[in-house]
Subunit: 107 residues, 2 copies
């Protein structure tokens, strides 16, 4: 089984209200989601009481990875955050930002 | 547990001979590898007789995803290939290309 997704296509643009979420892939092995955040938008800090880990890859744009207690770390194109699913994590876009989230095992 | 990797840093450049491989993350949940292929380099078509899936995300550059029998599909920034680990897969860089490979469960 193989398939290709093009995340950089014109149709996959940035929403003016709320962030745009695209399910890229969901299988027994991992779930992959694409989020597009317009400048100023925030993917709120959250966590899930589940085993497993996630990666957040910044494909385009810049902003910050957010943690609990106001903690933040710079995020730009090519930045990869690895986090346990149960650790608080979020993203703030300072410019239009395209991110790819991979969750394994999927939740 | 959280950590950040910066794949777009100057130190993480493109090798002139062979492709450059960086282990980004390895856990019980998934393995993440960054490969930098200089223009003209090929990540040869291969497969593993194991369950599980992988994603190949193109962070920069362009070329093709390769399959068996000479099959190829265009790959550019923002392209994501999802493949079973046991299905033949490879990559050819037509220009310097930075890719991120995520394997779940890790092999």
């Amino acid at each position: 089984m193989q398939k290709i997704h093009e995340l950089d296509r014109h149709e996959n643009d940035f929403g003016l209200q709320g962030f745009r979420k695209v399910l890229v892939h969901d299988s027994a092995d991992f779930k992959i989601l694409n989020f597009n955040l317009a400048a100023g938008q925030i993917f709120p800090v959250h966590s899930h009481d589940e085993d497993g880990q996630l990666s957040i890859v910044v494909l385009k744009g810049s902003g910050a990875f957010l943690g609990d207690g106001g903690r933040e770390l710079p995020a730009g194109t090519g930045s990869v955050l690895i986090s346990d699913i149960r650790d608080p994590h979020g993203v703030r876009a300072d410019e239009d930002m395209r991110i790819l989230v991979t969750i394994a095992p999927p939740i």
